[in-house]
Symmetry: C2
Subunit: 319 residues, 2 copies
């Protein structure tokens, strides 16, 4: 099994009734700040306000009826958990979501509000806790990344981008385990081969930058980052070889520039993004890509789930 | 002279090189909260982040060269001032902007940053101060509303809406002096006669509601409102008869529901709006319009100029 364009196209058809085709917005007001023609792929306006619903829904819709009846389980720093909870609610099945205690309270609350069972645990134990529960109750595990079903759904972001504008020069998307990056770069390279694709990850957790340098999946030391959806310590084993083949480069972004990106998007584009999405604007602000004014650059705004409390952190940030 | 569809269409052509054609976004995530199919006309993504540039630019582009050389002046609670300053900068001419001391500091700072001369005065004296300066320096006055040149430019918002989606049932837009409402209702009714048009104004300053009830332009008692762009105490004399003819109804919105609307748009649609634009969502939340789930309702998000300080006010607001 591998990830094919055909599998992503099938996923697009499968999930279409359950998701939004999100707009790709030309955002001229950002051009003077970022030095090129800016386009934003607005997954923050997706159902559950993040792209994760695409992958979760594609995976869940392929499960046999008997598994759906028993219930599903996942672990997630927030957006994937919310997506699984939302999908379960839409389909009328039971969902359990294990979240790291260190994650966003805003996101955990949203998961509970959707009617899912919520369990908090230490971030290092979350996979063990999830596995134990899955075994005990015969739940089907819906992985947040590194699964071809999930990846095919997430790749529909890339598929939409090239169908909405085939003339883009560069696409920058956030990377954690690499599900969005691997799958959407596959869709982009196989439908618009000239488009360049980049991943942006926190400088505090450069798991792809280091793994690509070493040529193999490498775990980095766990450090804090404001990008609470990008906390995975190593690339997914299924994602890594795809990223290696299709992605044109990785960018590491400092904490300061993630916040600058977020404030820029809020004040000039008038959109609310989570720091894990604003990292794409932060990468450009930090000078990670050589661009000229006529370059068409698409930033994937992967999600907008952030609380008002967090926005106060932006008060003294200048871009 | 009156406001014709032809005059608005000419304005659209005249200002096209200087403004954005802003997106009309289908925003499904708001449907469950507002009880109908929601569309947003995103003038918050306009140049200067408000629709005002359309009117100011159309007015200024019609001035003779000799007037442009002497300079222009205006008075405005913020967005029109910023629009005039932006237009002056683009055309390389001098602009003076008189702002009420009670207005948004965020907006005043943005005007100064564009290189315009800024003057603060008491809100009740702003027209006298402006007139005296215009006479002294031979500046041309660019009125914020109640001027056919300005109105024709602002009417291009309505023109774009019907060209972007002719199947909308209702359009709700904010009203102060009524420039946007009069001009855009003209464009809408003359291109899509079945579309209903409504104006939303603060319950604290119900100048249109009261004037329409009395059948003549009536000034209301000046009161405070969080909607800092909607502070005019009476309808414009040119706007009033047009609103009377074309607008299907006015809605008054309480301060509480203006803030609820703003928080709803921020948390569910992930967009930053100023309170004066969020009033449209507030009107629906407050139950001012009978809607069914299949009704297509467009909210005109007229601007997004609001500082982070203001957003703190939303912390304890629930929608």
């Amino acid at each position: 099994m591998t990830l094919t364009l055909n599998y992503i196209e099938e996923a697009a058809e499968r999930i279409a009734p359950y998701i939004q085709r999100t707009p790709l917005l030309r955002m001229n007001n950002l051009d003077p700040f970022l030095g090129c023609e800016i386009y934003l792929k607005m997954e923050s306006m997706q159902k559950t306000n993040a792209f994760k619903i695409r992958g979760a829904m594609n995976k869940i819709l392929q499960l046999p009826e008997s598994d759906l009846e028993k219930g599903i389980i996942t672990t997630s720093s927030g957006n994937h958990g919310r997506a699984v909870a939302f999908a379960a609610k839409q389909l009328g099945i039971h969902a359990t979501v294990v979240v790291p205690e260190s994650g966003s309270k805003f996101k955990a609350d949203a998961i509970e509000a959707l009617g899912a069972e919520l369990l908090r645990c230490d971030v290092r134990e979350r996979f063990e806790v999830t596995e134990a529960l899955a075994e005990k109750y015969d739940y089907t595990y819906i992985p947040p990344f590194d699964d071809y079903g999930v990846m095919a759904g997430q790749g529909t972001v890339g598929l939409e981008i090239t169908s909405q504008n085939e003339a883009l020069d560069h696409v920058i998307m956030p990377a954690s385990g690499g599900g969005l990056l691997a799958s959407s770069s596959t869709a982009i390279k196989l439908t618009a081969p000239d488009m360049k694709v980049y991943g942006a990850e926190p400088a505090n957790l450069p798991r792809y930058t280091e793994s690509l340098a070493k040529g193999e999946v490498t775990a980095v030391t766990r450090k804090e980052t404001v990008a609470d959806a990008l906390v995975t310590s190593q690339p997914g084993t299924r994602n890594f070889p795809i990223v290696k083949e299709y992605v044109d480069g990785m960018m590491t972004v400092s904490e300061e520039f993630i916040l600058k990106g977020m404030k820029l998007l809020m004040m000039e584009a008038k959109i609310v993004t989570e720091p894990s999405s604003a990292i794409t604007a932060g990468a450009l602000l930090e000078g990670s890509l050589d661009v000229s004014p006529e370059d068409k650059v698409c930033l994937v705004i992967s999600g907008g789930n952030v609380g008002l409390d967090f926005m106060e952190k932006l008060k003294y940030i200048h871009y």
